[in-house]
Amino acid sequence: MPSPSQRDPLYLKLLRHAVLLLFVAIALWPVMDVVSISLRPGNQLRTTQWRLIPEGATFESYAALFRDHPFLRWVWNSLVVSAAVTVTGVALASLSGYAFSRCRFVGRRALMLAVLTTQMFPATMLLLPLYVMIAWLGLLDTYLGLVAFYVSTALPFCVWQMKGFYDTIPPALEEAARMDGCSQWQAFYRVVLPLAAPGLVITALFSFLSAWSEYLVAAQVLQNEEMFTLPLGLKSFQASMSTQWGLYAAASLLVSVPVVVVFLVLSRYLVSGMTLGSVKE
C-alpha cells in the first residue's frame, strides 16, 4: 500500500481524500449537535429545528460555567490527576514492556497473561469492594488513591502496547550498541526508547484520556467538592429529570479542548517518530 517514497496516482489521491472527508463528516455529525445544545437557550436536549446555530443562540451556558461553577478548579484538578497518571503510566509501561519484549525471565509469559486478565472483570462489579478497600486504606478523598487506580487500570494495555512496539525494533540495534560499550540500560534508554516514540505517544494519550474522562471510580473516592475532577463536576449538572443540558454540552466541548491540545503536541512524535531507516544510515 502507499508508502512515502512512492508517488500516488491521481485516482488514489482522490480516493484518500474522499474517504477522509466522509469520515470527518461522520466524526463531526453528533458533535455539531452538542455545539447546538450548548448554544440553545432554555436548556433543551432535543429540538425539531435543524440549525447548528439555534434561534436565540447565546453563550450564556459558557458564561455560567465560569461564573456560577468552579469549572476552572475542576479543570485544574483533572489536569493534575491526568498528568500524574500519564507520567507514571508511560514510565512504568515503557520499562516493563521492554522487559517483556526482550528478556526471557521466569514467569514472563504467565505474568503477561495475568496482567491482561485484570481487564476482563466487569468494572461495575469491582466498585463496591474497591470502595471498601480504599476506605480501609484511608485513601478516600485523596488523589493518591485515584491516581493509583487509574494507572493500574491503564497499565495492562500500555504494557502490552509497548511490548508490541519493542517487538518491531530489531534486537540487532541494541546488540550493536552493547558492542560499542553501552550498558544494557544505556542501550535501552539511548537506542530503543527513542525508536518506540509512537508507542509512547499512544501510551501517553491512552493514560491521559482514561484518567481525564473516568467517572465511576472518582465518584467513589472523592467526596469533597473542592477536589472534584471534571467528570464529577459535569455530572453535577445532571439530575434524572432536570438536567442542565446547556451547561453540560458547553462543558463537554470545553473539556475536549485540552485533549485536542495534548493530541496536537503528541502527534508530532506519532508521525515523525524516527524511522528505523534513518537510524541505520
Binding site: L45, A93, A99, L111, Q119, T124, Q161, I202, L270, T275
Partner: protein, 724 residues
C-alpha cells in the same frame, strides 16, 4: 431536586452554621440513584454522611439494609403535630416489627404530576377525560396529510410507568392491594381496572393522538416548541414551562376519568431528612439540630417564597394558599387528590416489572391484557427474588473446603515461584526491576476486589442479607445456567457476542483504513488527523446521549437520514425509520454509536504502528515489482500485527464489558429490556434487585468466558512471543 432548590438549601445551611458556630456542615449533592448506591457502600464500611436528604420512596431500602437511625428519641409528638402526617415516615423496626421507627421527616411535598397545557391551543383545562380526548383530537393536525402530524394533542413520557399511574388510579387501579399479607404489600398489576386504564392509553395511541415515541426529554421539547397542546409532567418542571418563550403554559390538576368519575391521581411523595447510622457522638447531635433547623417554619417559609415549594407544615401550607400563585394553587389541588407513594422496597420491583411491558404496550407490540398479565407475573417472581435470599445447599461445605484448599495451593505456588525467581534473579536482574513496579501496582488494586467478588459469588448477599450474608454454595451459578432466567441469559450472551464481534470488526477495519489513508504525503494531514480523533476527545456520556437523540423518531437526524436514503433503496434493503422503540434497530443504534466512539482509538494505534515499518521494505518490494496489494498483505499487515494485537485483544474485552454506551443509547435496555448485553444485564440484576451474590456469580462467568477467549486468541496469534 428542582433547579434552584440547591441554592435555597445552601443558604439555609449557611444560616444554621451561623447559629451554631462550632458546627461545620459539608454538603454533597448526589443524584438519587447515586445517593442510594453511595449510601449502601458507605454503610458497609461504617462511614458516610450524618444526614441525608431525598425523596421518601427509597426509605424502605435504606431501612432494610440498616442505614438509618430511629429519629423517635430526638423528636416529640408535639413537635411534629403541625406536620402533614404523610410527611412523617415511619416503618416497623427491623428487630421488633410491632414497634415503629421514625425514619424521615419531610419538609416538602413534590414529585406529583399534573396537566401542563398551552393556552394558545387549549383555553381552559379539560375537566374530564372525554374533554381531554376531544381537545387532543382537535389539536392533532396533519396539514400535509403524510400520516405524520405536525402537531399533537397530548404527550407524556411513555417510557416510564411512573407517568402511567394517574391513568391507573383514574380507573380505580393501584399497584398494591389494600390488604397486606404478612405485613408485605401484594402487587395488583393485572386487574380489570388496570386493563381498562391500559386500554385507554393504547387507544389514544391507536387514534394517532400521541407522537410515535416520546421519552422525557422528547416530550418536554415537543411541548416547548409549541407542537403539543397538553403535556403530563411533574412539579419539578412547571416553572420552566411557565417561563418559556413562544408558548403560553399553565398548570391544572389532571382531569376526572369520564367512565369512572374518579380523578386521575398521581403519586405524591414527601422529601425530607434522615439520620444515618454513620452518625455518632457530636456529629449525631449536630445532625439532629440541623434536621430540626431545616424543617422549622422559617426554613419552609423561605423555600415556599423562593421556590414555591409545597410545605409539609400545615401552618405554612395555609400561607401558601393565600399567595394565590396559579401554579402553586394547581399543585396544592393536585396534591389533595394524589396518592402517597409507598415506601416499601417492593415498589422498585413494581417499576422494573411494569416498564418493559408498558413500553411494549405503547409500541403496539402487546395488547392491554397481555401487558397487564406480564407485568403481574414478573412483579410476583421478582419480589420473590428480591426478598428471598438464595438458599444454603449441600455445596456450601465443599465450596468452603475448596476455598481453603485453593488458598493453600496458591501459597505453595507462591513459594515455588519465589524460589525459581530467586535463582533466575541474578541472570535477569534488569528485567525484574523493570517489571516489578507495574505488576505490583496492577495487582494491588485488583486482587482484593477480585477475591471479595469470588467469595460473594458463593454467598447470599442481597437486600435482606446485606450485612449478615454467608457462603451458601453454588446456588447463584446454578441459577444462571439452569434457573428460571437461564433462557434470558443465553439470549443475552448471543447478543453480547454479536455486539463484540461487529464492533471490533468495524473499529479495526475503519481504524486501519483511515490510518492508511492518512499515512504518507497527503495535503491537510494534520487537520484530518485532528478532526478524526474528535469522537475520542469529547466525553462519551454526552455524545452517547446525542446519538440517542439522533435516532429519535420525532427529532433525530439519523432517523430522518434513513427515511431519505430509503427513497433510493430497493424494497428489500430498506433501513428502519423507527429505531429506538424496536428491539433490532435499537440494538443497531447502540452498535453504530459505539463504532463511532471507538474507531479513532484503533486509528491512532494503527498510525503509530505504520511508523515503525521500515521504508526499505517497500522500496525493495517496489524494485521486485510487487503490486500495492501484495505490499499491503506481505509487508504492512505482518508488520502491523504486533502493534495491533494487544489493541484488538483488549478492544474485544473492553467492548464485551462496555456498559455505558448500551446503557445510555438504549436508556437502560429499552425497548422492553431487549438491548441488554451481559454487563448491563448484571448491572440491572445487582442494582435493581439487590442480588449481589447473583451479580457476582454472573461477573465470574463473564470473567471466565473472556479469559478463555483471550487465551485461545493469544495462543493462536502467538502474541506473547517476541520477534526473536
Amino acid at each position: 431536586m428542582r433547579p434552584g432548590d440547591a441554592e435555597v438549601l445552601e443558604a439555609r445551611i449557611a444560616a444554621f452554621e451561623q447559629q451554631h458556630p462550632r458546627v461545620r456542615v459539608r454538603s454533597l449533592y448526589k443524584e438519587t440513584e447515586e445517593l442510594r448506591s453511595g449510601l449502601e457502600s458507605a454503610v458497609l464500611v461504617g462511614r458516610g454522611p450524618d444526614v441525608v436528604f431525598g425523596p421518601s420512596d427509597v426509605i424502605g431500602v435504606y431501612h432494610t439494609i440498616g442505614a438509618l437511625r430511629d429519629l423517635a428519641e430526638f423528636f416529640t409528638a408535639e413537635e411534629l403535630a403541625d406536620f402533614d402526617p404523610r410527611a412523617v415516615v415511619s416503618l416497623p423496626a427491623k428487630e421488633s416489627p410491632d414497634r415503629d421507627n421514625l425514619l424521615m421527616l419531610g419538609d416538602r411535598f413534590g414529585n406529583h404530576l399534573a396537566l401542563v397545557y398551552d393556552r394558545r391551543r387549549v383555553p381552559s383545562a379539560p375537566k374530564s377525560t372525554d374533554e381531554l380526548v376531544a381537545l387532543a383530537e382537535a389539536n392533532t393536525i396533519d396539514a400535509d396529510s403524510d400520516g405524520r402530524p405536525e402537531r399533537y394533542g397530548l404527550v407524556w413520557n411513555y417510557r416510564e410507568p411512573f407517568f402511567a399511574v394517574p391513568f391507573l388510579t383514574g380507573y380505580g387501579a393501584w399497584v398494591f392491594a389494600d390488604k397486606r399479607e404478612d405485613g408485605r404489600p401484594v402487587p395488583t398489576l393485572d386487574t380489570p381496572e388496570s386493563v381498562a386504564a391500559y386500554r385507554f392509553v393504547s387507544g389514544l395511541r391507536e387514534k394517532g393522538l400521541l407522537p410515535r415515541s416520546a421519552d422525557y426529554e422528547g416530550a418536554a421539547s415537543l411541548f416547548l416548541e409549541g407542537k403539543v397542546a397538553m403535556l403530563i409532567d411533574g412539579d419539578w418542571s412547571w416553572q420552566k414551562y411557565a417561563s418559556a418563550p413562544g408558548i403560553d403554559a399553565a398548570v391544572a390538576p389532571l382531569p376526572v376519568v369520564s367512565e369512572t368519575g374518579l380523578p386521575m391521581a398521581p403519586m405524591v411523595a414527601p422529601r425530607g431528612y434522615s439520620l444515618t447510622v454513620a452518625s455518632a457522638g457530636a456529629g449525631r447531635d449536630a445532625g439532629v439540630d440541623l434536621i430540626r433547623f431545616l424543617i422549622n417554619e422559617d426554613s419552609q417559609r423561605i423555600a415556599l417564597e423562593e421556590q414555591r415549594t409545597v410545605p409539609s407544615r400545615l401552618s405554612v401550607r395555609a400561607e401558601a394558599r393565600e399567595l394565590n400563585d396559579p401554579i402553586l394553587t394547581a399543585s396544592l389541588a393536585q396534591l389533595e387528590v394524589g396518592r402517597l407513594m409507598p415506601t416499601d422496597v417492593e415498589l422498585r420491583v413494581i417499576w422494573d416489572s411494569m416498564r418493559p411491558h408498558y413500553q411494549s404496550l405503547m409500541a403496539g407490540r402487546m395488547t392491554p391484557e397481555q401487558a397487564a398479565a406480564a407485568m403481574q407475573a414478573e412483579a410476583v417472581s421478582n419480589i420473590q427474588r428480591l426478598l428471598v435470599p438464595v438458599a444454603k445447599d449441600w455445596s456450601a461445605l465443599p465450596v468452603k473446603v475448596m476455598g481453603v484448599a485453593s488458598l493453600a495451593a496458591l501459597a505453595i505456588a507462591a513459594v515455588w515461584v519465589a524460589v525459581r525467581v530467586t535463582r533466575d534473579f541474578s541472570r535477569n536482574r534488569l528485567a525484574y526491576l523493570f517489571v516489578a513496579p507495574s505488576v505490583a501496582l496492577i495487582f494491588a488494586t485488583v486482587l482484593f476486589p477480585l477475591a471479595y467478588n469470588i467469595v460473594l459469588s458463593f454467598s447470599n448477599m442481597s437486600l435482606s442479607r446485606f450485612h449478615d450474608w454467608e457462603v451458601v454454595g453454588v446456588g447463584n451459578y446454578a441459577d444462571i445456567f439452569f434457573g428460571r432466567q437461564s433462557g434470558a441469559f443465553w439470549g443475552v450472551l448471543g447478543k453480547t457476542i454479536a455486539w463484540t464481534v461487529i464492533n471490533v470488526f468495524f473499529h479495526v477495519t475503519l481504524g486501519v483504513m483511515l490510518a492508511l489513508a492518512l499515512n504518507g504525503p497527503i495535503r491537510g494531514k494534520p487537520i484530518y488527523r485532528l478532526l478524526l480523533v474528535i469522537p475520542w476527545a469529547v466525553p462519551a456520556y454526552i455524545t452517547a446521549l446525542t446519538w440517542r437523540g439522533m435516532f429519535d423518531a420525532e427529532f433525530g437526524s439519523a432517523s430522518q437520514l434513513a427515511t431519505a436514503v430509503n427513497r433510493w433503496l430497493p424494497g428489500f434493503l430498506q433501513l428502519p425509520e423507527v429505531w429506538l422503540t424496536e428491539p433490532g434497530p435499537a440494538f443497531a443504534a447502540c452498535i453504530i454509536a459505539n463504532v463511532w466512539l471507538g474507531f479513532p482509538f484503533m486509528m491512532i494505534v494503527a498510525l503509530g504502528g505504520l511508523q515503525g515499518i521500515p521504508q526499505e521494505l517497500y522500496e525493495a518490494a517496489t524494485i521486485d515489482r510487487a503490486s500495492r496489494w501484495q505490499q499491503f498483505w506481505n509487508i504492512t499487515v505482518p508488520m502491523l500485527r504486533p502493534v495491533m494485537l494487544p489493541a484488538v485483544t483488549l478492544g474485544a474485552v473492553w467492548t464485551f464489558n462496555n456498559l455505558n454506551i448500551v446503557w445510555l443509547v438504549s436508556n437502560g435496555g429499552e425497548p422492553s429490556d431487549k438491548t441488554h448485553i451481559l454487563v448491563s444485564y448484571v448491572y440491572k440484576a445487582v442494582f435493581n434487585l439487590y442480588q449481589y451474590g447473583y451479580g457476582a456469580a454472573l461477573s465470574m462467568v463473564i470473567f471466565g468466558m473472556l479469559l478463555g477467549f483471550s487465551m485461545l486468541f493469544l495462543s493462536r496469534t502467538r502474541a506473547t512471543e517476541g520477534v526473536t
